[in-house]
């Protein structure tokens, strides 16, 4: 029956075709099963591929300066790991202490919000209306608050990490990440919480409209629905790490589909980022390529620095006060030693005067800074 020709001339499925389809389905099922069993290895391989792709840009750059790829890779990998370890070593103590601070202060912050809302028994609109008059403070105070908003948010590093993690969740992630930050702001008062909310909106807008297009200019345009589905599936199968690699893996998967199917089979012209860059590079002179890489490296450096800024800016008020104490103690000891040496005739009177004047100036500066911090 299967082999019989139909009266209208349409040929039916040959047995060989059916068997091949069944074999394909069985094979596909077996591969999926195998992938499921070995999913930790698969994830590790995917991460390895992504890591390799990211580092190959650096190796390509070194290759242009006549360095063998093997040597380039050997140099790039430890350099990259060195940066990671360096950042980790420098920031780990602050991150640990901030996470601890966050853990202890978040329940207190939530309690404060509940009390605050309960006291007023009013809607969000009225609450905001009540906050608004506080904003009409004298201009200098407003400026000071603005600075504090950036520098003095409690557990800022921990909040930054949370925001970074939630960034992987499209649309809802950035909104969710603002909630604990606003809650922490309530510890210092509702006005600060409002400022934090505004800062999140501004940063989100800057990121979406300025930073993201700048970094992803040469990247793959991914449909949002596909992104969300990929993130969902990858997080179910591979957990949190799957969520992390979902977008880059999806981007990598779209490249062969675009090249082999959309362009070669369907015949539509498509833009493939890597290939396009390669073609452009062919037209460029060697020095021009250096410039392009310089630009990429510059962007990379800019992103790294931007990542460091909040970490650096978040040294806590207590740390700053300790630092000021140390400075004051240092100058006090300087004055004492200078006096001692001057009495012994080891330094000139002119030098002693200069040092005492410098001590007075520095102590005054320290006093002003510590007053500013205590406000």
């Amino acid at each position: 029956m299967a082999n019989a020709s139909q009266p209208n001339g349409v040929t039916g499925w040959p047995t060989r075709g059916i068997l091949r389809t069944l074999a394909l389905i069985a094979g596909f099922y077996l591969i999926l099963q195998l992938l499921w069993v070995g999913r930790p290895v698969v994830l590790l391989s995917l991460l390895g591929v992504l890591f390799g792709l990211a580092l190959s840009a650096g190796v390509d750059w070194l290759e242009r300066w006549r360095m063998a790829r093997a040597v380039g890779a050997v140099l790039i990998v430890p350099a990259f790991l060195g940066v990671l370890v360096g950042i980790g070593a420098l920031t780990a103590p602050s991150i640990t202490s901030q996470l601890r601070e966050f853990k202890t202060q978040l329940p207190e912050a939530i309690g404060k919000i509940q009390r605050w809302v309960h006291e007023r028994q009013q809607g969000v609109t009225q609450v905001l209306k009540q906050v608004a008059p506080a904003d009409t403070a004298p201009a200098d105070q407003t400026g000071e608050e603005g600075k504090l908003l950036i520098l003095d948010v409690k557990a800022a590093i921990a909040l930054g990490i949370i925001a970074g993690i939630l960034e992987f969740i499209p649309i809802a992630g950035p909104i969710l990440s603002s909630v604990p930050a606003i809650a922490m702001g309530f510890l210092d008062g509702p006005k600060k919480a409002v400022y934090i909310g505004l800062a999140y909106v501004v940063i989100q807008q800057l990121e979406a409209n300025l930073l993201y297009p700048l970094i992803m200019k040469k990247g793959v345009e991914l449909p949002p629905v596909l992104t969300i589905v990929a993130q969902g599936v990858m997080s179910i199968v591979f957990g949190f790490l799957g969520l992390l690699v979902a977008v880059p893996m999806l981007a990598a998967a779209t490249v062969p589909i675009k090249m082999l199917y959309v362009r070669d089979v369907v015949g539509d012209p498509v833009r493939v980022p890597g290939e396009e860059a390669k073609n452009v590079e062919k037209r460029r002179s060697r020095a021009d390529r250096g410039d392009a890489d310089g630009g990429t490296a510059g962007k990379g450096l800019a992103v790294l620095l931007m990542a460091l800024v909040p970490v650096a800016a978040c040294s806590s008020r207590q740390q700053k006060l300790q630092e000021l104490n140390r400075t004051a103690h240092s100058w006090e000891a300087t004055a004492r030693l200078t006096k001692e040496l001057w009495e012994k005739g080891a330094v000139s009177a002119g030098y002693a005067q200069q040092t005492i004047a410098a001590t007075a100036g520095e102590l005054e500066k320290t006093r002003r800074r510590s007053e500013k911090l205590s406000q």
Binding site: R66, G294, A312, A346, V347
Partner: protein, 404 residues
């Protein structure tokens, strides 16, 4: 005999030239803040600069090329502009720091604010170069620079525990203030591995018409000269650790630094500190101003030479004139010389791969150095120290600037 004399002079120049505003300030700050803990950074920087100076001399002796000349020829003018801009920028900041160092020495001696001394110092540096007396001044400054040995005397007087110094030759993790610790470490490495040192040395070798018979002398000058220079820097750090760190004094301004010699050596210690600071910085200012002019002139193929009259090398003279004028103006504005010094040293560390990697490539190219190519140990040591210093600088500089 004349070669022996040259070697001795080279050694003296190396010792006197190593210690300048940067290495003095960074070693004193590190000793005051972290005791002996950062001795390893000086050792690492000294090893790296000894290798680099030796390479600069070898390149000149074998290829008869100055470093910028060879770089432009080998990599093309487009690539050359990257290290050119990096070295000129960093050297300019270091030049300003040196002028600031001399001005501060004069302030310590006279009580007149350093800003007012800046134009005078800049003018003196410029006049000496303009009058093409550099050879005489260089040797004189190098000989006078031996006054920096006073730091070693001070360290002995303080009975520095040598086992502590030895134990800290191996890097260790900071016990507190990680950001400041790493920032200090890169500043020390930047101060030791100032590119102007090997660019200047390479240009000097060409002017003295070195050939392959100088390779042995070159090795001795680079190894011993830089080694002794590094030892003096360790003595500064040890003195600061003993006098300042033990009393909780951190070095925030140059005014605090004479204490580390005045405490063990009395009035003479104070006088010699002022002399050492002034002479070392003045010598370095002369060398750096010339290095900037060398770099630009050699890179663009202009006529150059420290003993040429200004009218014979007009563009060369114009470059150092502008550099000295701007550096003097920068100090005249009242910028804190110590902060400028430390910051420029950290920037030097950041720029190391750009300035060092092209030299490494040249030193492995048989077209330039024939059979006198680098040993893999030299390649590995210099490359890893430069890249590591750069990585740490990338992380530590923003943390230091924004964190505190």
């Amino acid at each position: 005999m004349s070669k022996l004399l040259e070697m001795a002079l080279g050694l003296v120049t190396g010792i006197g030239g190593f210690l300048e505003a940067g290495s003095l300030a960074t070693a004193a700050q590190a000793g005051a803040a972290f005791g002996f803990q950062l001795v390893w950074a000086i050792a690492l920087g000294t090893v790296c600069i000894a290798f680099l100076v030796e390479m600069g001399g070898r390149l000149a002796a074998v290829s008869k090329h100055t470093l910028p000349d060879a770089m432009r020829e080998r990599f093309g003018i487009r690539f050359f502009t990257v290290p050119l801009i990096a070295v000129v920028l960093v050297s300019f900041l270091v030049l300003a720091a040196e002028i600031g160092g001399v001005s501060l020495a004069l302030q310590l001696a006279t009580g007149v604010r350093f800003q007012w001394w800046a134009p005078v110092v800049a003018l003196a540096v410029w006049l000496l170069l303009w009058a093409h007396n550099f050879n005489l001044v260089e040797k004189g400054a190098a000989l006078l620079g031996l006054v920096t040995f006073v730091f070693v005397v001070g360290a002995f007087k303080l009975e520095v525990p040598l086992h502590e110094v030895g134990a800290n030759l191996l890097p260790s993790l900071p016990r507190q203030d990680s950001a400041q610790y790493w920032f200090m470490a890169v500043s020390i490495i930047g101060a030791s591995v100032s590119p102007y040192l090997f660019y200047f040395y390479s240009a000097g070798a060409i002017e003295d018409e070195w050939d392959e018979s100088y390779l042995g002398a070159n090795r001795v000058i680079a190894g011993l000269g830089m080694g002794f220079g590094g030892s003096i820097a360790v003595a500064v750090l040890a003195g600061a650790a003993m006098v300042l760190h033990s009393r909780g004094i951190q070095v925030d301004r140059y005014e605090q630094m004479p204490l580390l010699l005045a405490a063990p050596l009395g009035r003479w210690g104070f006088i010699l500190f002022v002399a050492a600071l002034g002479i070392a910085c003045f010598g370095a200012a002369l060398e750096i101003a010339l290095t900037i002019a060398y770099l630009v002139a050699q890179g663009f193929g202009w006529k150059w030479g420290e003993n040429l009259r200004p009218r014979e090398a007009a563009r060369f003279s114009l470059v150092y004139t502008i550099a000295i004028l701007l550096a003097g103006l920068l100090i005249f504005t009242g910028i804190d010389p110590l902060k400028l010094t430390i910051f420029s040293m950290a920037l030097t560390a950041l720029s190391l791969p750009v300035t060092v990697v092209p030299l490494l490539i040249l030193m492995n190219d048989p077209e330039y150095v024939g059979e006198n190519r680098n040993h893999w140990i030299a390649n590995a040591a210099v490359f890893s120290i430069s890249v590591l210093a750069c990585i740490v600088a990338i992380v530590a500089i923003p943390l230091q600037i924004l964190g505190s």
